[in-house]
């Protein structure tokens, strides 16, 4: 294998840090963020980040805390650097990663941190439901008392009706997520579930049951990024190149979309990413998608071109989404098994793709993984942020 040189203005991920997703009663938002930041920095200790992009959706509504850029930079001993929050509801993590990517790509800075952090467990259910519902159109959706689960249920019922799929058509997404979470030390749920358990699960909002829905919890994840001309010397782990970075949006309200069952933002973000990276869906070795509810897994697979319209659920039937399958998804449990950390999700996803591409995914390893994609969604799919990561051989 010939020695390759990094492209000077390409952007690489050179450090990741994760905290376990859980109800962290004894730990605050800033403490969780710090743990993730320190873990990411420890992987390239000589690198000095010049900027910090914080991905967060809920701290204003649930923790009465704005200005997380300053708060977390200060707490992490990074006073003086550039920092701000990037908010795009559940897509905040991918959106923050994209801002960091753009800053490095432009040459405005050489190294940057991204941290996604959420703290929800200090509040009770009704307040959390209301905070999550802020991703929706407040004047025309939330005022009617909708919840994130209700929106997913509206899509799922219509999907099952139009496709004539069986009632348990989406069970495979939940089973796969929990099976993969079992070996993930950062996951909230560490045991697999059985198909019978899915069939018996209590309803949240028919037809969405508790086993279709990801549990909301606390967590933080961080990424350390560097330009190709600023890569630290002597890293043990190969740097992972960001080969594509995209965001696309559509109307926040489902009722404003001409075709509610096709996630146009997800499709545009994915196809632009393929174009940027110069590859096709078939070449992607694994896909960390945003399964905050199982229906979004089916719709995301269709949007990204892994299944025809109305056929996404079939991929969950025959092992195609498993570790050995055609398109492994949620390889560390996804939001369903890892736990849903709202605006931090996209940062967890990118870190998980990095672990796969660096061959340190342990029991969760997808064999010969070289190209991985991560996509997070805001609300019911209004924002989609997509990243394609590649391990270049010989770097």
């Amino acid at each position: 294998m010939s020695e390759m040189k990094p492209s000077p203005n390409a952007v690489y991920i050179v450090g990741i840090g994760l905290t376990q997703v859980a109800e962290h009663w004894e730990r605050s938002l800033r403490e969780l963020a710090l743990e993730a930041i320190q873990a990411a920095r420890a992987e390239s200790p000589t690198l000095q980040p010049e900027a910090l992009y914080v991905a967060n959706m809920l701290s204003v509504s649930l923790s009465a805390q704005a200005q997380l850029g300053a708060l977390l930079a200060d707490f992490a001993g990074l006073r003086g650097i550039e920092a701000c929050t990037v908010e795009a509801a559940g897509a905040s993590g991918g959106a923050a990663l994209r801002q960091a990517y753009l800053a490095l790509r432009s040459g405005a800075c050489q190294a940057a941190l991204v941290v996604g952090a959420e703290k929800v467990s200090d509040k009770v259910s009704a307040e959390i439901e209301a905070a999550l519902a802020t991703a929706s159109d407040a004047d025309f959706e939330s005022v009617q008392g909708i919840t994130a689960a209700a929106l997913a249920a509206l899509l799922m019922r219509r999907y099952l009706n139009e496709t004539q799929a069986p009632p348990d058509a989406l069970a495979g997404f939940s089973l796969n997520a929990h099976a993969n979470a079992a070996a993930n030390p950062y996951a909230m749920f560490r045991r697999p579930i059985k198909k019978e358990a899915y069939a018996r699960a209590a309803m949240l909002s028919e037809p969405v049951s508790i086993l279709d829905a990801a549990p909301v919890a606390d967590g933080a994840a961080a990424l350390l990024l560097a330009r190709g001309d600023a890569l630290p010397e002597g890293s043990v782990l190969p740097p992972i190149r960001i080969a594509a970075s995209t965001i696309a949006v559509t109307a926040p309200a489902i009722h404003d979309r001409p075709d509610p069952l096709f996630l146009t933002a997800a499709a545009e973000a994915a196809h632009r990413a393929y174009q940027q990276a110069g590859l096709s869906a078939e070449e992607v070795d694994l896909f960390e998608l945003h399964d905050v509810f199982t229906i979004y897994a089916a719709l995301a697979l269709e949007a990204a071109g892994f299944a025809a319209r109305g056929e996404g659920w079939r991929l969950a039937q025959d092992g195609a989404i498993g570790r050995e399958g055609k398109i492994p998804i949620c390889t560390f449990g996804g939001s369903k098994g890892r736990g849903d950390t709202a605006g931090a999700t996209g940062v967890y996803q990118a870190a998980e793709v990095v672990m796969q591409l660096q061959g340190r995914a342990g029991e969760n390893q997808v064999r010969d993984a070289r190209i991985g994609m991560a996509q997070c969604l805001g609300g019911s799919g209004a924002t989609a942020a997509t990243h394609i990561l590649i391990r270049d051989d010989g770097l």
Binding site: S125, A126, E127, E129, A130, A133, D139, F140, E141, S142, V143, Q144, G145, I146, T147, A149, A150, A153, L154, L155, R157, R158, N161, M203, L204, S205, E206, P207, V208, A251, A253, I254, H255, D256, P258, P260
Partner: protein
Amino acid sequence: MEVSRHWRLKKERYAMVGEVCPHCEQKIFPPRDICPDCGQEARTLFRFSGRGEVYSYTTVYSAPTGHEVNAPYTVALVRLEEGPMVTAQLTDLGEKQVEIGMPVEMVTRRLRAEGESGILVYGYKFRPQLSAS
């Protein structure tokens, strides 16, 4: 309290007033001033009939702040007969089983109570179409 916020929306909430695009005739609800179909300016007011059919529906048991006293309640996506879709609660269901395609019509009901001394927010909900209408 947000009195002005709800007052601003009284035409939409109480009378289902949206817009019609003068360029392509597209009916628009909620109003948005730029036609989502042709991208041109659309500010001509248009009053919707309030009739439509259920596109999808579900039940909310774990309600957000302000809606707890009403739980459980049914929410739906309703396809209006003029084309646009709205998100709204279903009401006056009695023993009636909701299904996709069920004809419904708009009524004005209380949507939310903002605490003991707060305002009551009224707006549209939908009920099964009365056969007489």
